[in-house]
């Protein structure tokens, strides 16, 4: 009995496959979803998401969203998600600097919030990418 797992973001479907195990950061801490998990609705916290399929381990970075577990179907509606191997560290560093700069300058509340979101995204991506590199 496998889990059907998908991550949807407003821009694309990041991941869709049959998997064995999913480790998700949620508001109540990290939880692991195994087959036949009780039906659950929860809020996903920014962090690293680990998907295990056989001996393969996939890692993804997410920046919050909602997770639905229902009859061995797991769907995550994420604001933003990216596979760790797709993260380009140089680009993210640059985005982080740009966001920090905007936040330091006195900008409108709207710009500040957008920059804040960008910064969070960059920090999470860097954190997850750094972890993954050390491990492998």
């Amino acid at each position: 009995m496998n889990l059907t797992f998908e991550i949807l973001t407003p821009l694309t479907t990041v991941f869709k496959d049959e998997v064995d195990e999913i480790v998700v950061p949620t508001v109540n801490g990290e939880i692991t979803i195994l087959p036949n998990h009780i039906n659950l609705l929860t809020q996903v916290f920014p962090g690293e998401l680990i998907v295990k399929k056989g001996s393969n381990i996939h890692s993804l970075a997410v920046t919050g969203g909602f997770m639905e577990v229902s009859k061995n179907r797991v769907s995550i509606l994420a604001d933003y998600a990216i596979k760790t191997q797709d993260i380009e560290i140089a680009k993210v560093e640059e985005a982080k600097k740009r966001a920090e700069k905007i936040m330091q300058e006195k900008t409108s509340e709207k710009d500040f919030k957008i920059a804040q979101g960008e910064l969070l995204k960059a920090i999470i991506e860097l954190k997850v990418a750094g972890k993954r590199r050390r491990r492998s």
Binding site: P10, L41, L77
Partner: protein, 285 residues
């Protein structure tokens, strides 16, 4: 002679028109590509979000109720949001929207309107009903933050009980060649009766009271954003096709006028030859 000159002028005018429409077609095509990608990408996300929100709506009768859920009150007025483009020249899109708007208005007397896009403002004003707000649509792909002021106004009307339901009229992007105006009910979130599968969540973390407002707010924002994207893609597709037709028509006119012009020119030459030649005939006779 005067006739030939005016023909020449008309040919030049038609050529200029075809250049303009061709340029507009190109612009619409380039905008369409991006809009289409975004529209199609956001669809599965919103569908899933809607499914989750709807499956929660049967929880509304218990103590964990939220104002977004429930059944529409038939007596209360409807907040009717109309989304149209800012600019015209996009085929029958605006006419179709207006027709739908008038049909809806004649069936529902008490409405409060909100318009997004300049082109529909006039039609809504002519209905002589309350208009809660008018927004511009813009001519570029709408960024996500445009939904926040819209959601604020919806909240203001809906949560304070001034309206009983919220509906959106927007143009659905079916394909590049086909867009259809459609009315969708946004609030309250109702459980679809035809689907028997009721909410099966046994567990909510941290709790339903905390999750529900976040989830439903997100649902509302995403739904509105999706409608904006669909409308934008429809507008560009419709304009592209309309401008393509206009360019073709202009070329056709140029061809017809050219034929007429050449005929006239030939006739003139023949006449001149006759003028030169005829006196000599008389001499030799």
């Amino acid at each position: 002679m005067a006739n030939l000159l005016s023909l020449k002028r008309r040919i030049r005018a038609a050529n200029n028109v075809s250049k303009t429409t061709r340029a507009m077609q190109m612009i619409a095509t380039s905008k369409l590509k991006k809009a289409q990608d975004m529209t199609l990408a956001v669809r599965p996300y919103v569908e899933k979000l809607t499914a989750i929100s709807q499956s929660l709506s049967d929880k509304s009768n218990k103590e964990n109720t939220h104002k977004y859920l429930g059944h529409p009150e038939a007596i209360a007025p409807t907040l009717f949001i109309v989304i149209s483009p800012d600019k015209g020249l996009c085929g029958g899109l605006i006419v179709a929207l207006t027709r739908e708007l008038i049909a809806f208005d004649s069936n529902n007397e008490k409405n409060v309107y909100m318009t997004i896009g300049k082109r529909i403002e006039g039609a809504v004003a002519s209905l002589q009903k309350n208009v809660a707000a008018s927004f511009k649509f813009g001519t570029t792909l709408p960024p996500y933050d445009v939904v926040f002021p819209i959601v604020n106004i919806i909240d203001d009307h809906f949560l304070n009980g001034r309206v009983g339901s919220v509906k959106i009229l927007s143009t659905q992007f079916l394909s590049v060649f086909s867009q259809k105006p459609k009315i969708t009910s946004v609030l309250p979130i109702e459980f679809p009766n035809d689907k028997l599968e009721k909410s099966s969540f046994a567990l909510f973390e941290p709790s339903l009271e905390i999750l529900l407002p976040n989830l439903l707010k997100h649902y509302l924002e995403m739904t509105i954003y999706q409608h904006l994207l669909e409308s934008f893609a429809s507008e560009q597709a419709s304009r592209m096709i309309a401008m393509q037709n206009a360019t073709d028509n202009a070329h056709e006119i140029v061809e017809d006028l050219m034929l007429e012009y050449n005929k006239g020119r030939q006739e003139k030459i023949t006449n001149e030859i006759l003028d030169i030649a005829s006196p000599s005939f008389i001499q030799y006779e």
